[in-house]
Symmetry: none
Subunit: 130 residues, 4 copies
């Protein structure tokens, strides 16, 4: 019915094969081999994936609730729980982004620093308004 996977795993890997151009030497996460850039969340990546798998499971749970004709209000309660889990995920990633990517740009200074803060602020606005 649905084609949830837009990009095949292969094309994703292909896309990112050349990643690492932006090698940010001195990055504290040693596990990004070969000068790979690694964003702010890279140290917690396993935890972020785990949270998303849980959210995916909750979404499948919602499908089963709808398919088995469960009570609307119980479904809505579960939707609120999934929304809160997504919010917590986003807030954690945003904090990592401020602590690493934005902080790095700020120390470097200049237009890039300004641009990073403008960009982060727009992301915060989207979270607050969604």
């Amino acid at each position: 019915m649905e084609q949830p996977s837009q990009l095949s795993q292969e094309s994703l890997e292909h896309q990112h094969a050349g990643h690492g151009a932006g090698d940010e030497a001195g990055h504290d996460s040693g596990h990004d081999a070969a000068g790979h850039a690694g964003h702010g969340y890279v140290d917690g990546r396993a935890d972020y994936v785990r949270r998303l798998k849980r959210i995916e499971g909750q979404t499948r749970g919602l499908q089963r609730m709808v398919e088995s004709d469960q009570y609307c209000i119980d479904i809505l309660t579960q939707v609120s729980a999934v929304t809160r889990a997504l919010e917590s995920f986003a807030l954690a990633m945003l904090e990592d982004h401020l602590r690493h990517c934005v902080a790095r740009a700020t120390v470097a200074g200049g237009d890039e620093a300004e641009a990073k803060i403008t960009e982060a602020s727009a992301a915060i606005a989207r979270l607050v308004r969604s």
Copy 2:
């Protein structure tokens, strides 16, 4: 983890005896026997499941983004999109709930009507605050 259908089939059929022609022939969950009405969202169930499958796909897309080390801000943009999709799902289900379950109880009147509105209001509060 989940317990489908708290109310017995009999009591549901009793409660909803007069409900319209909500029989969704060919629906994948076979437990809705002939003519059974179910909850307010039952006529749109296929659409609700479709929305949830799309949200599940988006959540898997988020996992791939994290695993392939994509940029934090792009991930956050996608999280906002998923959150909005969940909100739209919830608002549609809530409207169906008001239009069917709550309206039915209101016409019947009495304590059940009061209880339904209190319950719906609590669900709205959870949505607004999440």
Copy 3:
């Protein structure tokens, strides 16, 4: 610290002196027949006004915080408190609306009932998304 009450108690009482007549001259909803108590929130009107005066006072408190150069984060904490107070106000008014206006229209039935639920659902969507 805050002076939430600008209007004297006297002027308040004066304003509400004629209350209870349900005089809604020129109001577009003609279905509120003679002696009818107006909108859903009418019994709790004094409480609603009190909440709004408190919110107004909090807003003036925010102005003083900005004018006296208080710390950004403390101001943001106070903004969140005001936002929550507005949300609680809106949720209470919405519940009253469902319990009275929408319920009345539902019992009457017909297009008006449908329209009221559509309208309430749009208001809920605005609250959820703001």
Copy 4:
């Protein structure tokens, strides 16, 4: 009506030179004393106060709506507008905070930098969840 504090760029620079003193005792009077550490929003203070005055006016408008028994849904629409205005205020102030206070601490480095990001993240979480 408004008292836009006319701090010259020079005095601002002077003020910020001594940042860290954090002399915020007896805060709300004599606020721009010499050596005081002006927060991130100080250049836009007149605009922030103007926004808050508008929000205060909207709140008084809400009181009049309730007192004159206006329609619930119209009141709720106006509440959503006020909530959005508060959100925009908070997002602007947060961006100023990131651009000035947090950036300053980040350049200085150390525990203070970490603490500022933790603190800003908690404020963002309150905004997202309120």
